[in-house]
Protein backbone atom coordinates (compact mmCIF):
# COMPACT_ATOMS: atom_id res chain seq x y z
CA UNK A 1 0.00 0.00 0.00
CA UNK A 2 1.32 3.41 -0.86
CA UNK A 3 2.58 5.72 1.91
CA UNK A 4 1.83 8.78 -0.15
CA UNK A 5 -0.15 9.59 -3.26
CA UNK A 6 1.28 11.73 -6.00
CA UNK A 7 -1.41 14.24 -6.82
CA UNK A 8 -1.71 16.53 -9.83
CA UNK A 9 -3.86 19.61 -9.56
CA UNK A 10 -4.13 23.00 -11.17
CA UNK A 11 -3.95 25.39 -8.24
CA UNK A 12 -4.75 29.02 -9.03
CA UNK A 13 -3.88 28.42 -12.67
CA UNK A 14 -0.59 26.66 -12.04
CA UNK A 15 0.10 22.95 -12.52
CA UNK A 16 1.13 21.47 -9.20
CA UNK A 17 2.47 18.04 -8.37
CA UNK A 18 2.39 17.18 -4.71
CA UNK A 19 2.86 14.05 -2.59
CA UNK A 20 0.52 13.55 0.37
CA UNK A 21 -0.70 10.72 2.59
CA UNK A 22 -3.99 9.26 1.27
CA UNK A 23 -5.95 10.48 4.28
CA UNK A 24 -4.87 14.13 3.95
CA UNK A 25 -7.60 16.65 3.28
CA UNK A 26 -7.37 19.19 0.51
CA UNK A 27 -7.06 21.85 3.22
CA UNK A 28 -4.08 20.06 4.76
CA UNK A 29 -2.38 19.75 1.39
CA UNK A 30 -2.97 23.43 0.61
CA UNK A 31 -1.77 24.67 3.98
CA UNK A 32 0.91 22.19 4.97
CA UNK A 33 2.28 20.95 1.65
CA UNK A 34 1.81 23.95 -0.64
CA UNK A 35 2.14 26.70 1.96
CA UNK A 36 -1.11 28.30 0.79
CA UNK A 37 -2.34 29.40 4.19
CA UNK A 38 -5.09 31.75 2.97
CA UNK A 39 -7.72 29.02 3.39
CA UNK A 40 -8.37 28.75 7.11
CA UNK A 41 -8.76 25.72 9.35
CA UNK A 42 -11.62 26.88 11.59
CA UNK A 43 -13.74 24.01 12.86
CA UNK A 44 -12.27 21.31 10.60
CA UNK A 45 -15.68 19.63 10.47
CA UNK A 46 -17.83 21.40 7.96
CA UNK A 47 -19.59 23.92 10.17
CA UNK A 48 -17.85 27.25 9.62
CA UNK A 49 -16.95 27.60 5.92
CA UNK A 50 -13.56 29.25 6.61
CA UNK A 51 -11.84 26.56 4.53
CA UNK A 52 -14.07 27.13 1.45
CA UNK A 53 -12.17 26.87 -1.84
CA UNK A 54 -13.40 26.34 -5.39
CA UNK A 55 -13.05 22.95 -7.02
CA UNK A 56 -13.73 23.20 -10.76
CA UNK A 57 -15.57 26.44 -10.00
CA UNK A 58 -17.85 25.08 -7.25
CA UNK A 59 -17.53 26.20 -3.62
CA UNK A 60 -16.23 23.30 -1.55
CA UNK A 61 -15.24 22.77 2.05
CA UNK A 62 -11.60 21.77 1.75
CA UNK A 63 -11.61 20.36 5.31
CA UNK A 64 -14.16 17.72 4.23
CA UNK A 65 -12.56 16.97 0.86
CA UNK A 66 -9.90 14.31 0.60
CA UNK A 67 -6.97 15.68 -1.37
CA UNK A 68 -7.17 12.51 -3.47
CA UNK A 69 -10.68 13.55 -4.54
CA UNK A 70 -9.19 16.77 -5.97
CA UNK A 71 -6.63 14.88 -8.08
CA UNK A 72 -6.70 16.11 -11.67
CA UNK A 73 -9.00 19.02 -10.85
CA UNK A 74 -8.80 22.82 -10.77
CA UNK A 75 -8.49 24.37 -7.33
CA UNK A 76 -8.92 28.07 -6.66
CA UNK A 77 -8.06 29.63 -3.31
CA UNK A 78 -8.10 33.21 -2.08
CA UNK A 79 -4.46 33.45 -3.19
CA UNK A 80 -5.79 33.25 -6.75
CA UNK A 81 -7.53 36.62 -6.35
CA UNK A 82 -4.46 38.59 -7.29
CA UNK A 83 -5.30 40.15 -10.63
CA UNK A 84 -3.87 43.65 -11.24
CA UNK A 85 -7.25 45.13 -10.33
CA UNK A 86 -9.07 44.20 -7.16
CA UNK A 87 -11.99 41.83 -7.73
CA UNK A 88 -15.32 43.68 -7.20
CA UNK A 89 -15.90 41.44 -4.19
CA UNK A 90 -12.60 42.48 -2.61
CA UNK A 91 -13.31 46.09 -3.44
CA UNK A 92 -16.81 46.03 -1.92
CA UNK A 93 -15.71 44.07 1.16
CA UNK A 94 -13.08 46.73 1.71
CA UNK A 95 -15.46 49.64 1.12
CA UNK A 96 -18.14 48.20 3.44
CA UNK A 97 -15.58 47.26 6.10
CA UNK A 98 -16.92 43.72 5.87
CA UNK A 99 -13.82 42.15 7.42
CA UNK A 100 -12.80 42.70 11.01
CA UNK A 101 -10.42 39.97 12.19
CA UNK A 102 -10.53 38.57 8.64
CA UNK A 103 -10.48 34.91 9.56
CA UNK A 104 -13.70 34.14 7.70
CA UNK A 105 -12.86 36.39 4.73
CA UNK A 106 -11.00 33.94 2.44
CA UNK A 107 -13.86 31.45 2.71
CA UNK A 108 -16.44 34.20 2.20
CA UNK A 109 -14.65 35.42 -0.93
CA UNK A 110 -14.42 31.94 -2.44
CA UNK A 111 -18.04 31.04 -1.65
CA UNK A 112 -19.35 34.41 -2.84
CA UNK A 113 -17.32 34.42 -6.04
CA UNK A 114 -18.52 30.92 -6.99
CA UNK A 115 -22.09 31.92 -6.23
CA UNK A 116 -22.06 35.23 -8.11
CA UNK A 117 -20.28 33.70 -11.11
CA UNK A 118 -22.97 31.04 -11.31
CA UNK A 119 -25.85 33.50 -10.93
CA UNK A 120 -24.33 36.06 -13.33
CA UNK A 121 -26.86 38.71 -12.23
CA UNK A 122 -27.55 41.13 -9.42
CA UNK A 123 -28.78 39.19 -6.38
CA UNK A 124 -30.92 40.14 -3.37
CA UNK A 125 -29.97 40.24 0.30
CA UNK A 126 -32.17 37.23 1.01
CA UNK A 127 -30.55 35.21 -1.74
CA UNK A 128 -27.11 36.08 -0.40
CA UNK A 129 -28.11 35.14 3.13
CA UNK A 130 -29.28 31.72 1.90
CA UNK A 131 -26.27 31.09 -0.35
CA UNK A 132 -23.81 32.12 2.37
CA UNK A 133 -25.50 30.35 5.30
CA UNK A 134 -22.55 27.95 5.59
CA UNK A 135 -19.97 30.70 6.14
CA UNK A 136 -19.86 31.87 9.73
CA UNK A 137 -18.41 35.17 10.92
CA UNK A 138 -17.85 35.84 14.60
CA UNK A 139 -17.09 39.56 14.19
CA UNK A 140 -19.18 41.54 11.75
CA UNK A 141 -22.76 40.47 12.40
CA UNK A 142 -23.09 39.71 8.66
CA UNK A 143 -24.84 42.95 7.62
CA UNK A 144 -21.76 44.42 6.00
CA UNK A 145 -20.79 41.13 4.38
CA UNK A 146 -24.23 40.80 2.80
CA UNK A 147 -24.13 44.45 1.70
CA UNK A 148 -20.73 43.92 0.08
CA UNK A 149 -21.80 40.81 -1.81
CA UNK A 150 -25.01 42.43 -3.06
CA UNK A 151 -23.07 45.49 -4.23
CA UNK A 152 -20.42 43.32 -5.92
CA UNK A 153 -23.16 41.38 -7.73
CA UNK A 154 -24.48 44.65 -9.15
CA UNK A 155 -21.04 45.72 -10.35
CA UNK A 156 -20.31 42.29 -11.84
CA UNK A 157 -23.71 42.18 -13.61
CA UNK A 158 -23.20 45.69 -15.02
CA UNK A 159 -19.77 44.67 -16.34
CA UNK A 160 -21.24 41.58 -18.00
CA UNK A 161 -23.74 43.72 -19.87
CA UNK A 162 -21.46 46.65 -20.68
Amino acid sequence: MPDALLLHMKVNGEDVEVAAPPHFTLLEVLRYKLDLIGSKQGCDKGDCGACTVQLDGTARLSCLTLAAQADGRKVRTVEGMTAAHLHPLQDCMDKQVAAQCGFCTPGILMAAEAYLTKQARAVSRDEVAEAMAGNLCRCTGYVKIVDAIVEASEIMAAKEQG
Binding site: P22, T25, G46, R60, L61, L64, L66, A68, A133, G134
Partner: protein
Protein backbone atom coordinates in the same frame (compact mmCIF):
# COMPACT_ATOMS: atom_id res chain seq x y z
CA UNK B 1 -1.38 3.88 5.83
CA UNK B 2 -4.46 3.72 3.71
CA UNK B 3 -5.14 3.07 0.06
CA UNK B 4 -7.39 5.26 -2.08
CA UNK B 5 -9.35 3.38 -4.76
CA UNK B 6 -11.26 5.27 -7.41
CA UNK B 7 -13.23 2.65 -9.36
CA UNK B 8 -14.28 3.73 -12.85
CA UNK B 9 -17.66 1.99 -12.97
CA UNK B 10 -20.16 0.11 -10.80
CA UNK B 11 -18.79 -3.43 -11.45
CA UNK B 12 -15.32 -2.17 -10.46
CA UNK B 13 -16.73 -0.53 -7.33
CA UNK B 14 -18.55 -3.75 -6.35
CA UNK B 15 -15.42 -5.81 -7.04
CA UNK B 16 -13.42 -3.45 -4.82
CA UNK B 17 -16.09 -3.76 -2.12
CA UNK B 18 -15.97 -7.58 -2.33
CA UNK B 19 -12.17 -7.66 -2.25
CA UNK B 20 -11.87 -5.16 0.62
CA UNK B 21 -14.85 -5.37 2.95
CA UNK B 22 -12.84 -3.34 5.50
CA UNK B 23 -12.40 -0.37 3.16
CA UNK B 24 -14.80 2.52 3.60
CA UNK B 25 -16.93 3.62 0.66
CA UNK B 26 -17.01 7.41 0.51
CA UNK B 27 -19.48 9.48 -1.52
CA UNK B 28 -19.60 13.19 -0.65
CA UNK B 29 -17.59 12.57 2.51
CA UNK B 30 -19.62 15.07 4.55
CA UNK B 31 -20.36 12.46 7.22
CA UNK B 32 -17.32 10.26 6.76
CA UNK B 33 -14.77 13.09 6.89
CA UNK B 34 -16.20 14.52 10.10
CA UNK B 35 -16.16 11.09 11.76
CA UNK B 36 -12.65 10.36 10.46
CA UNK B 37 -11.07 13.30 12.26
CA UNK B 38 -10.81 11.52 15.57
CA UNK B 39 -9.95 8.09 14.26
CA UNK B 40 -6.94 6.39 12.76
CA UNK B 41 -7.07 6.35 8.96
CA UNK B 42 -8.97 3.29 7.65
CA UNK B 43 -7.09 0.57 5.75
CA UNK B 44 -8.53 2.02 2.57
CA UNK B 45 -11.16 4.16 0.91
CA UNK B 46 -13.35 3.38 -2.09
CA UNK B 47 -14.34 6.65 -3.73
CA UNK B 48 -17.88 6.58 -5.15
CA UNK B 49 -18.46 10.28 -5.82
CA UNK B 50 -19.07 11.03 -9.49
CA UNK B 51 -19.59 7.40 -10.57
CA UNK B 52 -21.98 7.77 -13.52
CA UNK B 53 -24.03 4.66 -12.70
CA UNK B 54 -24.74 5.98 -9.21
CA UNK B 55 -25.53 9.56 -10.14
CA UNK B 56 -28.62 11.35 -11.40
CA UNK B 57 -32.39 11.02 -11.62
CA UNK B 58 -34.14 8.83 -14.20
CA UNK B 59 -37.82 8.23 -14.94
CA UNK B 60 -39.55 4.98 -14.01
CA UNK B 61 -42.57 3.53 -15.76
CA UNK B 62 -45.71 4.73 -14.05
CA UNK B 63 -44.42 8.18 -13.14
CA UNK B 64 -41.93 7.37 -10.40
CA UNK B 65 -38.21 8.14 -10.37
CA UNK B 66 -34.98 6.31 -9.69
CA UNK B 67 -32.37 8.40 -7.90
CA UNK B 68 -28.74 7.26 -8.02
CA UNK B 69 -27.28 6.83 -4.52
CA UNK B 70 -24.52 9.38 -5.18
CA UNK B 71 -26.90 12.11 -6.35
CA UNK B 72 -26.29 15.30 -4.37
CA UNK B 73 -28.88 17.50 -2.69
CA UNK B 74 -27.92 20.27 -5.12
CA UNK B 75 -28.76 18.03 -8.10
CA UNK B 76 -32.09 17.01 -6.54
CA UNK B 77 -32.89 20.67 -5.86
CA UNK B 78 -32.31 21.47 -9.53
CA UNK B 79 -34.47 18.62 -10.84
CA UNK B 80 -37.93 19.57 -12.10
CA UNK B 81 -39.34 16.04 -11.58
CA UNK B 82 -38.43 16.14 -7.90
CA UNK B 83 -39.89 19.64 -7.54
CA UNK B 84 -43.13 18.74 -9.31
CA UNK B 85 -43.80 15.19 -8.16
CA UNK B 86 -41.95 14.93 -4.84
CA UNK B 87 -41.99 18.44 -3.32
CA UNK B 88 -41.66 16.78 0.09
CA UNK B 89 -38.16 15.55 -0.76
CA UNK B 90 -37.26 18.86 -2.38
CA UNK B 91 -38.30 20.79 0.73
CA UNK B 92 -36.23 18.52 2.97
CA UNK B 93 -33.14 18.76 0.74
CA UNK B 94 -33.38 22.54 0.79
CA UNK B 95 -32.88 22.50 4.56
CA UNK B 96 -29.86 20.21 4.65
CA UNK B 97 -26.69 21.95 5.86
CA UNK B 98 -25.86 24.93 3.69
CA UNK B 99 -24.86 25.33 0.04
CA UNK B 100 -21.43 23.69 0.36
CA UNK B 101 -22.93 20.63 2.08
CA UNK B 102 -25.76 20.47 -0.48
CA UNK B 103 -23.23 20.51 -3.32
CA UNK B 104 -21.45 17.50 -1.89
CA UNK B 105 -23.71 15.48 0.42
CA UNK B 106 -25.59 12.61 -1.23
CA UNK B 107 -28.89 10.85 -0.67
CA UNK B 108 -27.14 7.47 -0.41
CA UNK B 109 -24.77 8.88 2.21
CA UNK B 110 -27.69 10.15 4.27
CA UNK B 111 -29.34 6.71 4.10
CA UNK B 112 -26.14 4.81 4.91
CA UNK B 113 -25.29 7.03 7.89
CA UNK B 114 -28.91 6.54 8.99
CA UNK B 115 -28.76 9.11 11.75
CA UNK B 116 -32.09 9.51 13.58
CA UNK B 117 -31.87 13.17 12.49
CA UNK B 118 -31.10 12.51 8.80
CA UNK B 119 -33.32 15.00 6.98
CA UNK B 120 -34.05 13.10 3.78
CA UNK B 121 -35.07 9.97 5.67
CA UNK B 122 -38.63 10.86 6.78
CA UNK B 123 -39.56 11.96 3.23
CA UNK B 124 -38.19 8.72 1.77
CA UNK B 125 -40.17 6.70 4.31
CA UNK B 126 -43.38 8.66 3.74
CA UNK B 127 -42.96 8.36 -0.04
CA UNK B 128 -42.66 4.55 0.16
CA UNK B 129 -39.08 4.48 -1.14
CA UNK B 130 -37.46 1.26 -2.26
CA UNK B 131 -33.72 0.94 -1.71
CA UNK B 132 -31.75 -0.81 -4.46
CA UNK B 133 -28.67 -2.52 -3.12
CA UNK B 134 -26.02 -4.37 -5.13
CA UNK B 135 -23.04 -6.65 -4.66
CA UNK B 136 -20.98 -8.55 -7.21
CA UNK B 137 -23.59 -11.31 -6.82
CA UNK B 138 -26.46 -9.12 -8.02
CA UNK B 139 -29.03 -6.52 -7.04
CA UNK B 140 -31.79 -6.71 -4.43
CA UNK B 141 -34.58 -4.29 -3.57
CA UNK B 142 -35.79 -3.57 -0.06
CA UNK B 143 -38.70 -1.47 1.18
CA UNK B 144 -37.10 1.43 3.04
CA UNK B 145 -38.91 0.66 6.29
CA UNK B 146 -37.35 -2.83 6.34
CA UNK B 147 -33.95 -1.40 5.43
CA UNK B 148 -33.90 0.54 8.73
CA UNK B 149 -32.93 -2.04 11.34
CA UNK B 150 -31.74 -0.06 14.36
CA UNK B 151 -29.86 2.93 15.69
CA UNK B 152 -27.65 3.95 12.76
CA UNK B 153 -28.05 0.40 11.43
CA UNK B 154 -29.24 -0.54 7.96
CA UNK B 155 -29.70 -3.85 6.19
CA UNK B 156 -26.46 -3.63 4.19
CA UNK B 157 -23.77 -6.33 4.01
CA UNK B 158 -20.05 -5.54 3.96
CA UNK B 159 -19.79 -6.39 0.26
CA UNK B 160 -22.83 -4.34 -0.79
CA UNK B 161 -23.40 -0.77 -1.90
CA UNK B 162 -26.58 1.26 -2.07
CA UNK B 163 -27.00 1.94 -5.78
CA UNK B 164 -30.31 3.74 -6.05
CA UNK B 165 -33.50 4.88 -4.38
CA UNK B 166 -36.77 4.34 -6.22
CA UNK B 167 -39.82 6.47 -5.49
CA UNK B 168 -43.19 5.34 -6.85
CA UNK B 169 -45.48 8.08 -8.17
CA UNK B 170 -47.67 9.44 -5.38
CA UNK B 171 -51.46 9.20 -5.64
CA UNK B 172 -52.85 11.91 -7.92
CA UNK B 173 -53.70 14.96 -5.84
CA UNK B 174 -51.87 13.69 -2.74
CA UNK B 175 -50.77 16.41 -0.33
CA UNK B 176 -47.15 16.33 0.75
CA UNK B 177 -45.87 18.14 3.77
CA UNK B 178 -42.41 18.63 5.32
CA UNK B 179 -41.51 20.32 8.54
CA UNK B 180 -38.12 20.43 10.27
CA UNK B 181 -38.00 22.02 13.69
CA UNK B 182 -34.56 23.15 14.84
CA UNK B 183 -32.67 26.15 16.12
CA UNK B 184 -31.70 27.64 12.77
CA UNK B 185 -32.60 26.74 9.21
CA UNK B 186 -29.05 26.26 7.95
CA UNK B 187 -26.47 23.92 9.47
CA UNK B 188 -28.63 22.97 12.46
CA UNK B 189 -29.47 19.52 13.70
CA UNK B 190 -33.20 18.88 13.84
CA UNK B 191 -35.14 18.47 17.05
CA UNK B 192 -38.16 16.92 15.33
CA UNK B 193 -38.99 16.35 11.68
CA UNK B 194 -42.21 15.21 10.06
CA UNK B 195 -42.87 14.10 6.51
CA UNK B 196 -46.44 13.32 5.58
CA UNK B 197 -48.32 12.29 2.46
CA UNK B 198 -52.10 11.96 2.30
CA UNK B 199 -54.99 12.05 -0.09
CA UNK B 200 -58.68 12.49 0.45
CA UNK B 201 -61.52 10.61 -1.17
CA UNK B 202 -64.99 12.07 -0.84
CA UNK B 203 -63.94 14.32 2.05
CA UNK B 204 -62.30 11.51 4.02
CA UNK B 205 -58.67 10.59 4.45
CA UNK B 206 -58.30 7.66 2.06
CA UNK B 207 -54.62 7.11 2.77
CA UNK B 208 -52.06 8.80 4.94
CA UNK B 209 -48.39 8.09 5.63
CA UNK B 210 -46.60 9.93 8.41
CA UNK B 211 -42.85 9.54 9.03
CA UNK B 212 -41.10 11.15 11.96
CA UNK B 213 -37.44 11.86 12.61
CA UNK B 214 -35.59 12.47 15.89
CA UNK B 215 -38.31 10.84 18.01
CA UNK B 216 -36.88 7.30 18.12
CA UNK B 217 -33.62 5.39 17.56
CA UNK B 218 -34.36 5.51 13.83
CA UNK B 219 -36.74 7.24 11.43
CA UNK B 220 -40.20 5.77 12.01
CA UNK B 221 -43.65 5.52 10.46
CA UNK B 222 -46.41 6.57 12.86
CA UNK B 223 -48.61 3.61 11.91
CA UNK B 224 -51.08 3.75 14.80
CA UNK B 225 -51.58 7.46 14.16
CA UNK B 226 -52.17 6.77 10.48
CA UNK B 227 -54.72 4.07 11.37
CA UNK B 228 -56.50 6.50 13.69
CA UNK B 229 -56.88 8.95 10.81
CA UNK B 230 -57.66 6.73 7.85
CA UNK B 231 -61.33 6.90 6.94
CA UNK B 232 -62.05 10.07 8.93
CA UNK B 233 -62.74 13.58 7.77
CA UNK B 234 -59.79 15.86 8.55
CA UNK B 235 -61.36 17.52 11.60
CA UNK B 236 -60.25 18.75 15.04
CA UNK B 237 -61.79 15.61 16.43
CA UNK B 238 -59.74 13.36 14.14
CA UNK B 239 -56.64 15.36 15.06
CA UNK B 240 -57.36 14.70 18.71
CA UNK B 241 -57.60 10.96 18.12
CA UNK B 242 -54.37 11.11 16.15
CA UNK B 243 -52.70 12.85 19.05
CA UNK B 244 -53.67 10.11 21.46
CA UNK B 245 -52.47 7.43 19.08
CA UNK B 246 -49.20 9.28 18.63
CA UNK B 247 -48.67 9.51 22.42
CA UNK B 248 -49.08 5.75 22.54
CA UNK B 249 -46.61 4.91 19.82
CA UNK B 250 -43.60 7.21 20.14
CA UNK B 251 -41.30 7.66 23.12
CA UNK B 252 -38.72 10.33 22.27
CA UNK B 253 -35.70 10.86 24.49
CA UNK B 254 -34.12 13.76 26.36
CA UNK B 255 -30.79 14.83 24.92
CA UNK B 256 -28.65 17.93 24.65
CA UNK B 257 -30.81 19.40 21.89
CA UNK B 258 -34.21 18.91 23.46
CA UNK B 259 -36.41 17.19 26.01
CA UNK B 260 -38.69 14.21 25.41
CA UNK B 261 -41.73 16.23 26.45
CA UNK B 262 -40.91 19.03 24.01
CA UNK B 263 -40.37 16.59 21.16
CA UNK B 264 -43.65 14.82 21.84
CA UNK B 265 -45.50 18.14 22.01
CA UNK B 266 -43.97 19.34 18.75
CA UNK B 267 -44.69 16.04 16.98
CA UNK B 268 -48.33 16.27 18.09
CA UNK B 269 -48.63 19.82 16.83
CA UNK B 270 -47.06 18.93 13.49
CA UNK B 271 -49.49 16.05 12.97
CA UNK B 272 -52.45 18.19 14.02
CA UNK B 273 -51.51 20.99 11.68
CA UNK B 274 -51.09 18.59 8.77
CA UNK B 275 -54.47 16.97 9.41
CA UNK B 276 -56.22 20.33 9.59
CA UNK B 277 -54.53 21.48 6.38
CA UNK B 278 -56.05 18.61 4.37
Amino acid sequence: MSEFLSPKDLPAALAARAAHPDYIPVAGGTDYMVASKDRLPPPGIINLFGLGALTGVTDLDGGGVRIGACTTYATLLGDARIANTFPLLRDACREVGASQIQARGTLGGNIATSSPVGDSLPPLLALDAVICVASSAGERRVAYEDFLVGYRKIDLAADELIVAIELPAPHVGAMQHWRKVGTRRAQSISKVMMAAVAHLDDGRIADIRIALGAVADRTVRARATEDALRGSAPSEEAAKRAREALRGEITPIDDLRSTAEYRLGVAENLVRRFVLSL
